[in-house]
C-alpha cells in the first residue's frame, strides 16, 4: 500500500504477554494477585453511571492531585497517562524528533524499541554488565540521545539501580532522562528525590502493578511543572476515561491497603527466591514484583512444561535472557503450586542427567 509509512509497514508491532482465556496460574505479565483496594469497590458503587454521557475531566485533575500528594506536591507536577505506556509515548513525542536518538538499556522493557521505531527515532541500546548493573560509561554511550530511558527496577531483570548512580547520570546527562519506575513501589529504593533536584528528570509510575489496577490503565509522569506543561500539549485531549480517573484516585488515596499489599508480595518474593535458590536456580536480587531466574535446565523447555502444568511464565528468547525465566509473584497459594511443580520438573531433569 503506497499510503502507509514505510517505517510502519516494515515494523513488527509489540507483542504483549499472553492473556489466556483458560484457567491458569498467571505469572507472566507482572500483575498483582490481590484485588484492588476496598476504596475502589466503594467508589465504583457510588459512581453515577448516567454521568458517563459527559466527557471526562480533560486533565484528570483529581487523580493528578492524589498522585502528587504522594510526593508532597500539587497536580502541576503530574501528567496522567492512559497507562504508563501512554506516558512513554508522550515523553518520546515531546522530546524526540524523527531521526533523533533514544537511549535505552539492554535488556529492558521490550516496548521501548517499538515506540522509538514508530517515532522514526534511532535506538541506542546500552548493554548492562553481566550482573545487569549499569555500565560505567553509560553517559558516553547515550551520547547525544534526546531521551535516555532508565528502568529501575529494570524489567525483565528485576534489579534496581543505586540512587547515587542514577543521580550522577541525571546530573551529567544534558538531555531528558525518563526513569521508568513501574516497579519502584516494590523496591527499597526509588528516584523521586531527583525530580526536585533536576529539571531534566521525568519519573513514570503506574497503578497497574502495585495498586492491582492493570485493567483501568492509569499511569503518570512526575516531573517539574515546566516539563509537565509540555507533556500536556502532546497528550490526547481526553486521554483518561471518567471511571479510571475516579478509581485511580480512590486507590492512590488508600495508602494503608497499598502498603499491606506490597508487604505481602515482598514477603512471598523473598520466600520464593530462597526456595528457587535451593533448587539450583540463580536468581537476580529482585526489587520488583517478579523474579528473574536462571534455570538449572533448558529455560524454554522448562517454561513450556510449566505451561502444560497450567502455570504461565514469561520467557524472552534473546541472547542476554535465554537462560532465564521471569516469574511474577502470585498469591502464597499460587506460589506453593508453582514451587511444587517446579521441584517436580527440576528433580526429574536431574534424574535424567
Amino acid at each position: 500500500m503506497g499510503f502507509i509509512r514505510e517505517t510502519v509497514e516494515n515494523m513488527q508491532g509489540y507483542v504483549p504477554g499472553e492473556q489466556p482465556t483458560e484457567k491458569l496460574i498467571k505469572l507472566n505479565t507482572n500483575e498483582n494477585p490481590y484485588p484492588p483496594s476496598p476504596a475502589v469497590f466503594e467508589s465504583m458503587a457510588n459512581f453515577d453511571m448516567a454521568s458517563l454521557n459527559k466527557y471526562p475531566h480533560p486533565m484528570s485533575d483529581a487523580a493528578r492531585d492524589a498522585a502528587a500528594a504522594l510526593f508532597g506536591k500539587d497536580k502541576n507536577w503530574i501528567c496522567a497517562g492512559n497507562g504508563s505506556d501512554d506516558i512513554l509515548t508522550i515523553a518520546i513525542r515531546t522530546c524526540v524528533n524523527a531521526g533523533e536518538k533514544i537511549a535505552v538499556l539492554d535488556p529492558t522493557y521490550s516496548l521501548y524499541p517499538v515506540l522509538a521505531e514508530i517515532q522514526d527515532a534511532q535506538l541506542i541500546e546500552i548493554s548492562t554488565n553481566d550482573d545487569f548493573s549499569l555500565p560505567l560509561n553509560l553517559i558516553e554511550q547515550a551520547g547525544d540521545a534526546k531521551l535516555l530511558i532508565l528502568t529501575s527496577p529494570n524489567a525483565p531483570t528485576s534489579n534496581a539501580f543505586p540512587l547515587d548512580v542514577i543521580d550522577a547520570i541525571c546530573a551529567n546527562f544534558k538531555n531528558a532522562v525518563l526513569i521508568d519506575e513501574a516497579y519502584a513501589d516494590f523496591s527499597s529504593t526509588n528516584c523521586s528525590s531527583l525530580v526536585d533536584k533536576y529539571d531534566n528528570v521525568i519519573i513514570s509510575r503506574t497503578v497497574s502493578k502495585s495498586y492491582s489496577l492493570a485493567g483501568i490503565r492509569f499511569g503518570y509522569a512526575y516531573a517539574q511543572p515546566a516539563i509537565i506543561e509540555q507533556f500536556m500539549k502532546v497528550k490526547d485531549s481526553y486521554n483518561i476515561n471518567t471511571l479510571t480517573q475516579v478509581l485511580a484516585e480512590a486507590a492512590l488515596k488508600d495508602q494503608a491497603y497499598f502498603q499491606d499489599c506490597i508487604s505481602k508480595i515482598i514477603n512471598t518474593r523473598e520466600f520464593v527466591i530462597e526456595k528457587l535458590n535451593a533448587l539450583g536456580f540463580e536468581t537476580v536480587q529482585s526489587e520488583a514484583n517478579f523474579i528473574f531466574a536462571k534455570v538449572p535446565c533448558d529455560a524454554q523447555a522448562y517454561m513450556n512444561e510449566m505451561r502444560e502444568n497450567k502455570i504461565l511464565l514469561r520467557y524472552f528468547n534473546n541472547e542476554r535472557c535465554k537462560e532465564y525465566v521471569r516469574i511474577t509473584i502470585g498469591t502464597d497459594e499460587e506460589m506453593d503450586t508453582f514451587l511444587q511443580v517446579t521441584e517436580k520438573l527440576i528433580n526429574r531433569q536431574v534424574n535424567y542427567e
Copy 2:
C-alpha cells in the same frame, strides 16, 4: 529547555470545551443528554471489579466484534481507540511522516491542526464554500497530502456531504482518506459503503455522542483489514481499559435503545431549528446532534449572555465562524429553557436597535 522538541515548545495545545463544575445547561461539547443504554448499567452491575488487577484484552476483541457487526463484518475490519481522537492520532502516525502533508477542511474540528503539528506534518486547509459544502477542486487542493481528513457531518458546521461527492474523492485521491463520522449516527447519510469499495478509506466512529458514552472513551476505525493491521502496530499496546471494552460492547449491541435515542434527538433538533429560524437565526441544514446557527445579533455577546443565564454554548472566534454559535441538542426540557432565554435576549436586542 534544550531537551524539548522545538515544535512542542512553540505550539499551543488543544483547548477542549469547558467542563463546568457548577450546574449549567451544557450545550457546548456535543454530548448526548440521555443516559447510556440500560445494558450498560447491567454490564457494570455484573462486572467483577476484582478482575481489574489483570490487564485488559490488548486488542479489545469483543468490543471490536460488536462494532464490526454493525457493518456485517468481523473484528479484522476494526481498530479500537481510546476515543476517536486516539484513532486520529493512530491514523496520522500510520500514514504521515514528519514533514509530509495532511489535508483538512476549513472550518472543521479544531483538533486536527494540533495533531498535525505534533507529528511535524504540514497542514493543507481546504476552505469549504460559503454554504460549507465541499469545493469542486478539493482533490487538486489536497495535492500530495498523505492523509485527507473529511469530516461528515462536519463540525462545527453540522452539515453532511453527499455520498456521491465523497465517493468520487475517494476514487480519485491516491493516498489515505479518513472520514471522521463522529456524528454520522445522527445523519440521513454516511460513507460506510465506501470501505468495501476502496482500500484507502478509513471511517472513524465513536460511542461518545450517539451512545451517550463520552465518559468511557471508545472510538473505532472501520477499514479494510490490510489498513487495520498497520494501525494495530501503532496503537498503544493496551489502549482500551477493561471497563470501557465491556461497556462499549454492551452499548453497541443494544441497537433498539440507540435508535430510540437518535430519533428523540433528531426530533428535538428539527423542532429547535424551526424555532430558531423564526427568531431570525440562519441555521445550517444539520445532520448532527448540534445546530450551527448564525446569530441575528453579535454572536459572542449572545453566547456570553447565555452563559450568564447558565446555558453553555460553543463559540469559535475565527473568520468563518465568528457570526455563529454551535448549540448541542439537549433534552426537550433543556431546549425549551434554551429557547425561552434566547427569545428574551433576541427580542431585547431587537428593541434596542
